[in-house]
Assembly symmetry: C2
Homo-oligomer: 367 residues x 2
Amino acid sequence: MPSIPLTPLVNGLPSTVPFVGPEALERQRGVAFKARLGANENGFGASPNVKKTIAEAASEVWKYCDPENHDLKQALARHHDVRPENIAVAEGIDSLFGYAVRMFVEPGIAVATSLGAYPTFNFHVAGYGGRLVTTPYVADREDPKSLLDLAKREKARLIFFANPDNPMGSWWPETAVTELIGSIPDGMVLILDEAYGEFAPFGTLPPLDLDNPKVLRFRTFSKAYGLAGARVGYVIGEAGVVKCFDRVRNHFGVNRLGQAAALAALADQAYLRDVIAKVSRARERIGAIAHDAGLRSLPSATNFVTIDCGGDGAFARSVLNGLIDRGIFVRMPGVDVLNRCIRVSVAPDNELDLFAEAFPQVIRSLR
Amino acid sequence: MPSIPLTPLVNGLPSTVPFVGPEALERQRGVAFKARLGANENGFGASPNVKKTIAEAASEVWKYCDPENHDLKQALARHHDVRPENIAVAEGIDSLFGYAVRMFVEPGIAVATSLGAYPTFNFHVAGYGGRLVTTPYVADREDPKSLLDLAKREKARLIFFANPDNPMGSWWPETAVTELIGSIPDGMVLILDEAYGEFAPFGTLPPLDLDNPKVLRFRTFSKAYGLAGARVGYVIGEAGVVKCFDRVRNHFGVNRLGQAAALAALADQAYLRDVIAKVSRARERIGAIAHDAGLRSLPSATNFVTIDCGGDGAFARSVLNGLIDRGIFVRMPGVDVLNRCIRVSVAPDNELDLFAEAFPQVIRSLR
């Protein structure tokens, strides 16, 4: 067999994937999940306008999407009161993380994140040969002070901070984030993941500072807007650094239906507000279900609730498996201390009914 | 202003884009094109089943796509009579070219292609620091012999060959491609771009050899299947090398509607055959329009026709601008000798009517 002449970097990469999809679990188990509560999707769905828009756009799916994503950038600029030059759009927030890592990281460059934070970002850091350095969560939150100290000590070029955070659902007030931003030294860039930003209480997201190339703020249509399948994300930042995404991005990468869907979703802010209210109520219900089972749920500024199962990682894994066995798809954090928890995405009541039935059964069966 | 700590590689990249979209030209001109004949899209559109499928899938756009693209890989495997392990799916053929380049190319590694061949592939080679070496087209075809000689001489790791070719529409019979494949030395990989393969005459595409990791064959749903806006491409190859795409790909990158659309398109082979027949007739019509204007069109195995404008690059540019001024979007090759031509994508008769009217006017006005 001839050799496969991979680069040394790619030759050294594992073939592991950041997440196993629920569909793979369904295929393994031979049965579909009854409740899809694991991927932090928005089970309330997208705006009805989105569905109409997609159906209409279907007749033009033979056309490539505008590679400049002009209309969506204009609409986002109006929405955020910035200029279109401050926005880069791409095929999902994951691809934007990949582009950002590619722009700044080469073999040996350090990147600082929290131990247990978003795995797909780490996947990209490994993929470009970066040296990932981590600091633990403190009281189930990413800790901006120790993260910054670590980044400075290790001369990190990137520092990843999610606010609100996944997988714990925790968050910091804008004052703490503003302080972090103000402390980023020259030569370092803050990757500020605000994928769950729309769900956060007022006073969580700092105002946009478009003169500072040391901060890139990542947003997505996958969560609050209910468009995970559409693959549309964007980054907001200083125009010069945002322009650099043009050097590496897949220019025709955004799906034409996805762009149309994102435009329709953005235009329906009334629906967004309604979804956010529903998400808030669903969070409370998940919290109550945990409480009724004698367990504590963590406060959440996201569309999921992290439940402390009250034991170690093995116990939480048993809870997760018990739920999966009962047809309820959930996920859990991957590292110690955090992995005493499971993570339950909000969903409409019919799915939470199933969770409410299964969860106490699982807990009882394990006690 | 703080510095932007790009890697030296990205710092040295130009901000140029491989293609300007028709939408950007429309915005510049302040008026929409009347005929969209420039991007080699399929103006006959996707199967009606695709439109129905997309409209139905719209209500599930809140779900991420299966990151293993299981169903589509199964269907493609059946279609091509290969195993699913021989197929990797991604968000468009351009992203697959990017992944392939990333897998094999690092700064200084040589990559061989034909001067004037697909610019987006070159964009990725530059993006990963590869050293692009080129050999000219011979008689408006990529020349496999000189390409292979060049690649061997320059110790290239990748060799790009499109069959059929874009932008000239030319092609080689499978015997020539099989000979090229058989001559690839160990340590080199052939990037065989078959984006237009469905349009080619029988005997153009060599049989699939799934034991040879030195050949990767790239296919797309953007052309014959009429799904350019859906961003679904795939690569066929030996299972071991195909598996390596998992190390670098954007696992959740495929749009859920795109995957559903691709499945529906693949299932409607009768529609595909009908489109291919329509494309063939439209090619003949474009050829006749050129002939009537006293010009020669090149034989084409694709969904476009390259017209030799009978002068130099500046003259062809004037023809192109004249068409654009009349609301007809076309493109042209970018390098000398080839750039004596313009490239006209097939389209339904109502758009070709406009081309038939405008083209002789433009030619007359320039003579």
